[in-house]
Symmetry: D2
């Protein structure tokens, strides 16, 4: 394979990160996230979030599934479940990690193209639930989960988040925003959300390092807006295997990412590379399964096209179009079948790789 | 603080490991442990274990608590518990991580100085359990756990392991040996165990990278001696948050550790540095709480000595001696109190650091 | 309220059961299900099932949710989930009891009118699952669950069960048939299934006492057809709170139910009473939401009709019909709205109660 | 066997309870504990507790292990454990039911003869725990559990409970008192505790019906003294299989027990029968393993005595005395071995049964 657009964790990390590991390698630091680099990284993040020292609670852990299961199992009482879109990461791609901690993922309707929760669907679900005179026979909704950017590469605007928050507040439910791909969502134009707005919009969110320039690592931010979600969090972090012995590794990486705007620049680069993909597809009249502004691009291609590209370029088969979906896209039945494929760019994607892809595409088309 | 002997995860990693990260940084690899470096590392480990390709099952994960909870929860049926010494890591230092997966840690008597399980105590416990006409009222023992090296720095001989294995086989119980500090145990002289002997002595074991030269990482080896413990293991690895997206990081590190004997050399170095500590203490008539040959040294010191060293040198307060323990060590009551402290060396410890420590000791003594 | 058709657990129990409690009240028996009455009940059930002593494993527990969560959590390994129709009892009405034991309920398509799993949908789901090259990112299907009678009052024929079993065998999955309403399903005409056929058709099933003449109690039968599901089951029974101290209460009740055909006669009576309801509705041109032969009757009534009956008769509002469903039933929009209501009969229902209901209906209609 | 003193759940129930079942058998009641009999029983219990309507929260469930696991898992956050004496029921006889819900039972020192928690041991444990600078590596104590009467037949005085409560309040920990044998504890003379005192002494307690005259059933009382333990409790009750469909059965039984002092009279009778046993043993110079005033009697007998009685009378072998324990009891080594056996009386025990026992004893002695 010449180039893989399969995902945003194919490469290692930003060179500044390896450098930081190298420069500090023989320093002796305290374990378990209590080292000076972790503290520095937290201080820098506090600045980015425009908060007073100690106003928010910040922790670091290694991976995304881990962060999700730790946060959700930490907060929920044993009888409660977590609300998610049917395509939410916790509902589909984490091998029932939430259920393994004893909690049901309560999927509610969401737009099947954008994968986004809407405030109105959420509200309807919650009103119905509490209108039931004996609701105790189905799991109590105890938390709201969504990803930003979503699993479909879409992202939320401040206005959408405000509406969801208002419903959440009405029902006294904390919001957990999974930011495994937060960088790309924050850098998506137009209507950019700034990271400090999150402090008032959600109750806990993650900042994904793994898919945005770090070797690994997710920052967890409890905004302490309304709920004491963070209380005793280090216990859960330890208990679920999320407390890294050499916590410095997480501290060093986030300290680096939050220096000189590296985190945001890495995401911006990924989005720009995705724009090149989007432009290339538009120019070639390829239809988009869903409109995205982040580093994920979903396009409808036919079986012939796929066949010609699949040996040299990596991408993900997302969905085989059925008859109804084909007519929606004004595609005619013939000997070809159509499918949605996903291409992903990252901090490491190079212009030349995009060019190489479209050159192959054009060659295949002739 | 000038030097910390608090633990063996204070520093970063062997320089060869950073080098490997750097050299491969822009390569695109498959995620989730299916990359070429993980395969290479497995092949090298198969050679070290003298097994046919595929004879044992090998996986990698990030940390020790994680490895323990994943392995134990993967194998045990819901009603079963895991046997451990009272001082076993899973019983004391993992914030009830095993219980959080639904399983009780069944502690049985073990030597309070060495922290080692004995075949005879194990056998007695199991015979008693199954002699109970209605055993279903207490949790069924479903697995045997112990650490090697132990939490007390002691290690098991092949003969001891054989006896434990024979009891385990008699009761059809798999053995899980926690090797977070396996390197130091294997390098402990005399009567060294070789790593390939483990294939016939235990059913699953870990090989700790975190405490022996890697940035992080534990290899998990299912020996497939008698039980199909490894079946569907990738599901549990994913579900418990133990499957690293950039699996290459684990592959690269273990591939490096298993090259040029690095893993064993790192452990040997740590043991040699601990020997220097042991010699130094012996020379100064300091008593050992327990005899160790690994990188952990437990000595009995008095409050005055501690006070003079504690600002400049890091070590762990392990135990305050009570009257009975003092008389056991032939210590007289006076205005001094006595305690056991733990000093740990690592791949990164330098001779000069040991010298510095004893220089300070001697200075304090005068 | 004059009569309740809300459910089949509104009354106490068959008089023979109270009598058995009374007659044995001062006998001293062993606890925890090891008493003579439990043994007698098991022997009688073995006869009904036409099996050799010990061929199947039989246990008793108190309630249905309890039985479901105990059976499923007993068998499944930690990483596995259980397949169910979306309307399966474990998926909808048990407050996430299965998830609370750590396992996801994997809902697959089922007929939304009958609530029955079909072999073909099951097969398609399983083929797709195992065709995925990296299935470990979604929970492994480890068991098949369905209710008979279903939550929609429908029941399975031997031929349907055979097809499901064949798919299950192909994928080496055990079948758990929830028989909370097994009596009514077995007595549903025509094409009656006999209870001994179940030994070859499913791997574990329950026999509901609560809804069929007992005060409470579910028998659990492991058929031992292919899997050793029953091994160590008493441990799980105890651990999940399902082992009754006075096990005799369960033994006595099932011993009574399995004497003189009482279990089957009770169910037959309930079905006959439901036939009276069905006939009454048919005569009055009331449409059935779904065709049932068991003790549950689902009919489409309008808001006016409901209003006139609801004070005197108990029944369950099941579903508000939407526009599409109304046209399906050839109902015209007017000022009336339509809904599906559920009426349930039991061993205790009397003819006069049905007559009273229709008398009120007819009065309301004029 | 002529008479069993093995436990207090060998017989059925008080005749008044069967009568109540019989009298109400054909009434139709609402399910799941929302019936009128459950409400009546709650009202009567409120009177007994001298509380305003609604001041405490009352629920009913079937069994003791169930009640324990439901209460504890309902309250504890995922990372917390429950403190218990090493011989607490949840620590020893419930097949790791608590651990199966994800929580560790944290055993602390208790008097090995009385099995009672002491305020001072509790306080010492908690002070030590919170003095640890990094306590997150061991499970957080989140609740205090003990049984009254204890597993050793001892009971707590108001003064002892007050001291425990004060320690609990200091560390903001709720107290759960397992009252599976509460009746016998409340009727133990002298220094009787009254049931209404419990409202100020503990945060949640159970009132055992199973072992005190009911067929089955445990009342659960949340005193709402300091914590909102009861919030959403019906969800947990349902989820863990503790919500009985025919909730009337629990309502009817407790309504009966709380009428005409039946609950207390039953326990008083059991204690009086135990007094007869105690007097008989005292008269015969048999030594007591521990002093009890409740319905459990622990005596030290030798192997010869046991052999002569064991065919005709049921009792439990509790403990084989070792050399140290024999000398403590001033027993001389000879060809005889000594053991502790437990005899239990109940609401159903008759004077004549005690007489029969001692007649056989005396006959054996000659």
């Amino acid at each position: 394979m010449r180039v893989s657009f399969e995902n945003d964790y194919s490469e290692g990390c930003l060179p500044e990160i390896i450098e930081s590991l190298q420069n500090t390698n023989y320093e002796q630091t305290h374990g378990y996230g209590l080292d000076d680099y972790s503290i520095k990284a937290k201080n820098k993040l506090e600045s980015l979030l425009n908060v007073e020292p100690g106003q928010v609670d910040i922790h670091f852990t290694v991976g995304g599934t881990q962060a999700n299961l730790i946060i959700i199992s930490h907060f929920l009482r044993s009888f409660a479940g977590v609300i998610s879109a049917p395509e939410g990461h916790i509902a589909t791609h984490e091998s029932a990690a939430i259920e393994a901690t004893g909690h049901k993922v309560l999927t509610i309707e969401a737009d099947s193209h954008t994968g986004k929760l809407s405030a109105s669907e959420l509200s309807e679900y919650l009103i119905n639930y509490w209108n039931n005179p004996e609701p105790e026979h189905t799991a109590l909704p105890g938390m709201i989960y969504f990803s930003n950017a979503t699993e479909f590469g879409t992202h939320y605007t401040a206005s959408e988040l405000t509406k969801i928050r208002d419903v959440a507040d009405q029902f006294e439910l904390p919001i957990f925003m999974d930011g495994a791909r937060l960088g790309t969502a924050l850098m998506a134009e137009p209507d950019q959300l700034t990271i400090d707005q999150l402090v008032n919009l959600v109750d806990v969110f993650t900042i994904g390092g793994t898919k945005n320039g770090a070797l690994f690592g997710e920052a967890i931010v409890f905004t302490n807006r309304k709920y004491n979600l963070a209380d005793n969090f280090r216990w859960t972090l330890k208990q679920r295997g999320g407390m890294l012995a050499k916590g410095r590794l997480l501290g060093l990486q986030f300290n680096t990412l939050f220096t000189n705007n590296l985190f945001f620049e890495a995401a911006k680069h990924a989005n720009q590379m995705a724009d090149l993909l989007r432009n290339g597809f538009t120019k070639r009249d390829v239809k988009f399964w869903t409109e995205t502004k982040t580093n994920q691009v979903f396009v409808v291609i036919n079986s012939e096209q796929k066949q010609k590209l699949v040996d040299d370029f990596g991408f993900l088969s997302w969905l085989q179009l059925d008859e109804k979906q084909m007519s929606e896209f004004e595609l005619e039945y013939s000997d070809k079948t159509y499918e949605v494929v996903r291409l992903v760019t990252s901090w490491a994607t190079e212009k030349s790789q995009i060019a190489e892809f479209f050159a192959a595409w054009d060659k295949a088309a002739n």
